[in-house]
C-alpha cells in the first residue's frame, strides 16, 4: 500500500511538472526558453515512464523511457538550438492571443480535461489514474499553443509537446502500448520533426521570416 501511495503521488507530481513546462510557452517569448522547457518536459516524461516501469515491473517501458530521453530530451532540443541560433532573432512578440488570455484559456482547458477524462478515471484501477487528467490537460494546452502562436518554430514546439502528452497519457492509462506500435510512433514523431525542420528552412528561404502570418497567399 505504501508503495502504491508513493507511486500515485510520484505520477501526479511528474505529470504536473510536465503540464507546468507546457504552460511556460504561454508566457515566455524567446525560443531558448521554449527549447529548455521542452527538454525538461521530455526529461520528466521519461522519468515518469521509468518510474512506471520500476513499480509495474514492465521492463519494455525502460526502453520507452530511454528513447524519450535520448531523442526528445537531448537530440531534438540540440537541433532546435541550432535552428534557434540561426533564427533566434525571430521572437514570438505578438501571438494571436496575448499572455493573460492565454493563461486563462489554459486554466479552462485543464478544467475541461478533468471533465472529459472522468469516465476514464472512474474506470481505471491503476495507481496512476489521478494523473490522467493532467496529461490530457497538457494535450489541450499544446493544441492551444499550435493554434494561437504565429512563429513556425513555436508551432513545432507545440506539436512536440502534444507528442509528449500522448506518450504520457499512454504510460499513465495502460502502462504503455505494445512495443511495436510504440516504436512506430517514435519513428513517425522523429520523421515528422525532421520534415518540419526542413520546412522551417524553406519558409525562411521563401518568406524571409518565420512568421506564419505571412502565409496568407491561399484564399478561397
Amino acid at each position: 500500500m505504501m508503495a502504491g501511495g508513493l507511486f500515485s503521488q510520484l505520477s501526479v507530481l511528474g505529470s504536473s511538472l510536465a503540464l507546468v513546462f507546457g504552460l511556460f510557452v504561454l508566457w515566455r517569448r524567446s525560443l531558448g526558453a521554449y527549447v529548455s522547457a521542452f527538454a525538461w518536459q521530455s526529461g520528466v516524461v521519461a522519468g515518469v515512464a521509468a518510474m512506471v516501469a520500476h513499480f509495474s515491473g514492465d521492463h519494455a517501458l525502460y526502453l520507452v523511457a530511454a528513447l524519450v530521453f535520448g531523442i526528445k530530451a537531448i537530440a531534438i532540443p540540440r537541433l532546435l538550438t541550432v535552428m534557434g541560433r540561426r533564427f533566434g532573432g525571430d521572437r514570438e512578440s505578438h501571438p494571436y492571443v496575448n499572455t493573460e488570455a492565454s493563461v486563462l484559456s489554459a486554466a479552462v482547458l485543464v478544467l475541461v480535461a478533468y471533465s472529459v477524462t472522468r469516465p476514464v478515471v472512474a474506470l481505471s484501477q491503476l495507481p496512476t489514474r489521478g494523473a490522467i487528467p493532467l496529461a490530457m490537460g497538457l494535450t489541450f494546452v499544446s493544441l492551444f499553443v499550435v493554434i494561437s502562436r504565429k512563429k513556425a518554430l513555436t508551432q513545432i514546439i507545440g506539436f512536440l509537446m502534444l507528442e509528449n502528452s500522448i506518450a504520457l497519457l499512454a504510460v499513465l492509462c495502460t502502462y504503455g502500448i505494445p512495443l511495436i506500435v510504440e516504436i512506430g510512433v517514435f519513428l513517425d514523431a522523429l520523421m515528422g520533426f525532421l520534415v518540419m525542420q526542413v520546412f522551417v528552412y524553406r519558409i525562411h528561404e521563401t518568406f524571409e521570416s518565420l512568421d506564419v502570418e505571412q502565409l496568407r497567399h491561399l484564399k478561397h
Binding site: M136, L143, I177, P178, V181, G184, D188, L215
Partner: protein, 483 residues
C-alpha cells in the same frame, strides 16, 4: 505472399530511385512497371476474399478482408495512373532530374504507407501508417518551390500531424478500455481482437475515444470544419500527387473511421456514431457546395468537390447497411474519377500555365482530347447518368429515405443541385470560347491519355451495370462495417 508483393513493389521502386541518383527517367519507368505489381496482388486478394476467407500474414499483423480489398484496389490503380502520368515516364522539360527522382521516391513511399494502412490489422500500426502518409506527401507538395506551395505544405503538415495525434489519443483510450476488461496482450490492438471484445467495452470511454478518432481521422479525410488545409494542399501539389491525395488518401482516412465505427457500434449501438457522422458529413457538404459557387481556381474547385464527396460518403456510412454499401460504391467511383480529373488538370496547367478558371477558355479547341475527357469527367463528378456516381448518389439518397432521414435526404438533394449548377457553369466557361491568343493547339503525348479514358469507361460501365464479383465484394465490405 500477395500481401508482401503488395507492399514490396512500391518499397523496391523507392529504394531503386534512392540508390540511383542518375538516370532519373529510367527509374521513373521502372517505377511505372513496378506499380503494376500491386494491381495484380489486389486481383489475387480479391479472388481469395470473394471465396470467403480473409488473407492474413505475419501472425495476423497484416490482414486483408473485403473492406481492405476495396481500398487496396483503389490505391493500387490510382497509384499506377499517377506513376504513368508522373514526370518519370513522359519526362517534363520544366523539371530537373533531382526533382523527378524526389517525386519517384516519395510518391512510392506514399503508396506504400497508404497500402500499409489498409492491410494493417493492428489499429496502432494503421495509425502509424496514416501519420506517415502526411509526412511523405508533404515533402512532395513544394516540388517546385514557391510561396504558395510552401504555405500549403506547412499548413498540411501541421494540421495533419496535430489532427492525427488526436486520433492516437482515441486509439490509446480504446486500448485502455480493452486492457481494463481483458488484460494487456500484444494482440490487444488487433482490430479482429477488438471487434470480438467490443460488446463488453465500456460505453462512456468508447464514446470519448470515438470523438477523438473521428476528429483525428476526419482531419485527414477533409471533413469540415477540419478541412481548411485540403483545398490548399490539393491545389498546390503536383498533379499526380493531387490525384493520389484526393483520389485515395481521403478514402484511406475514411477507411480508418469505418474500422473504428464497427468497434464503437458494437459497444454502443449505431445511433451515437451515426449522429456524429451525419453532423460532420452534412457540414462538409454545405461548406463544399457554397465554396464551389464562388470558385476561381479549377484545382481548388476539384478539391472542394472532393470535400463534397467525402461528406456524401460519410453520410452514407450513417444510413444503415444499404447506406454503407452505397458509400463504398461511391468511394470507389470517386477515387477513379477524381484522380482522372486531377491528372487531366495537370495537363491543363502545363499548357495554360495557370490554375485560374477565368484564364482557361476554348479548351475543346486547344486540347481536343484532354478537353473532351475533362468534360466527361466533370459530368461524372456532378453525378449525371450514365456515370457510376449517379448510381451511387442515387443509392445514398435512397438509403437516407429508407432509414427515415427524409428531411436530410431532401437537403442533400438541394445541395447536390447547387453543386450541379455551379460546376456546370464553370465547365461551360472552360470548354468553349475563343481560346487564349498565342497558345499552341493540339495534344502532347496523346497516348498518355489512354488509361484515363479507360478509367472513365470503367466509371460509365459501373453506371450501367455492377458486375457480380464487384457487387459481392462491396456487399462483403459493407458487412464488415455493419457486422
Amino acid at each position: 505472399m500477395p500481401l508482401f508483393l503488395l507492399l514490396g513493389a512500391p518499397l523496391l521502386a523507392a529504394v531503386i530511385a534512392l540508390m540511383r541518383s542518375r538516370y532519373a527517367r529510367l527509374t521513373g519507368q521502372v517505377s511505372v512497371w513496378l506499380s503494376l505489381v500491386p494491381i495484380g496482388a489486389a486481383g489475387y486478394l480479391w479472388r481469395e476474399v470473394n471465396r470467403g476467407a480473409p488473407v492474413s500474414a505475419a501472425g495476423d499483423l497484416v490482414r486483408a478482408d473485403a473492406l481492405s480489398v476495396v481500398l487496396i484496389s483503389c490505391v493500387s490503380i490510382v497509384a499506377a495512373l499517377a506513376a504513368w502520368l508522373g514526370p518519370g515516364w513522359w519526362g517534363r522539360e520544366d523539371l530537373r532530374d533531382y526533382q523527378i527522382r524526389r517525386f519517384v521516391i516519395f510518391s512510392n513511399l506514399f503508396t506504400l504507407t497508404m497500402l500499409a494502412a489498409v492491410v494493417s490489422n493492428n489499429v496502432g500500426l494503421m495509425w502509424v501508417a496514416i501519420e506517415a502518409t502526411t509526412i511523405v506527401s508533404a515533402v512532395l507538395i513544394p516540388l517546385r518551390l514557391g510561396k504558395s506551395s510552401v504555405e500549403a505544405s506547412w499548413k498540411y503538415l501541421l494540421i495533419g500531424s496535430v489532427g492525427i495525434a488526436l486520433a492516437f489519443i482515441g486509439t490509446v483510450l480504446a486500448y485502455f478500455d480493452f486492457v481494463q476488461r481483458a488484460g494487456a496482450t500484444t494482440q490487444a490492438l488487433n482490430w479482429t481482437v477488438l471487434v470480438t471484445a467490443a460488446p463488453h467495452l465500456h460505453p462512456d470511454v468508447m464514446r470519448l475515444a470515438f470523438v477523438f478518432l473521428l476528429v483525428g481521422y476526419g482531419t485527414k479525410a477533409g471533413l469540415a470544419p477540419m478541412h481548411t488545409w485540403l483545398p490548399d494542399a490539393h491545389s498546390e501539389a503536383p498533379a499526380p500527387l493531387s490525384a493520389m491525395m484526393s483520389g485515395v488518401l481521403l478514402a484511406v482516412a475514411l477507411y480508418a473511421i469505418m474500422r473504428w465505427k464497427t468497434v464503437v457500434d458494437l459497444a454502443l449501438g449505431t445511433p451515437f456514431t451515426n449522429r456524429l457522422l451525419i453532423g460532420l458529413g452534412l457540414f462538409s457538404l454545405v461548406i463544399a457546395a457554397f465554396s464551389l459557387v464562388t470558385q476561381r481556381n479549377y484545382k481548388r474547385m476539384l478539391a472542394y468537390s472532393s470535400i463534397e464527396h467525402t461528406g456524401l460518403t460519410c453520410l452514407g456510412l450513417a444510413f444503415g447497411p444499404l447506406g454503407v454499401f452505397a458509400a463504398l460504391l461511391h468511394l470507389v467511383n470517386h477515387s477513379l474519377v477524381k484522380s482522372t480529373m486531377f491528372l487531366l488538370s495537370g495537363r491543363l496547367h502545363e499548357r495554360y500555365g495557370t490554375t485560374n478558371l477565368a484564364a482557361v477558355t476554348g479548351l475543346l479547341r486547344t486540347m481536343p482530347w484532354t478537353g473532351a475527357l475533362f468534360a466527361a469527367g466533370m459530368l461524372a463528378v456532378i453525378g449525371l447518368p450514365p456515370f457510376g456516381l449517379f448510381i451511387s448518389e442515387f443509392a445514398l439518397l435512397r438509403a437516407g429515405f429508407a432509414t427515415g432521414h427524409r428531411l436530410l435526404a431532401v437537403v442533400m438533394l438541394a445541395l447536390l443541385v447547387l453543386v450541379f449548377v455551379s460546376l456546370l457553369t464553370h465547365l461551360n466557361r472552360m470548354l468553349y470560347g475563343a481560346g487564349v491568343e498565342g497558345l499552341r493547339r493540339g495534344e502532347d503525348h496523346a497516348g498518355a491519355l489512354v488509361p484515363l479514358a479507360l478509367c472513365l469507361a470503367v466509371i460509365v460501365a459501373l453506371g450501367l451495370v455492377i458486375p457480380a464479383p464487384f457487387w459481392r465484394l462491396l456487399t462483403m465490405g459493407a458487412a464488415v462495417v455493419t457486422r
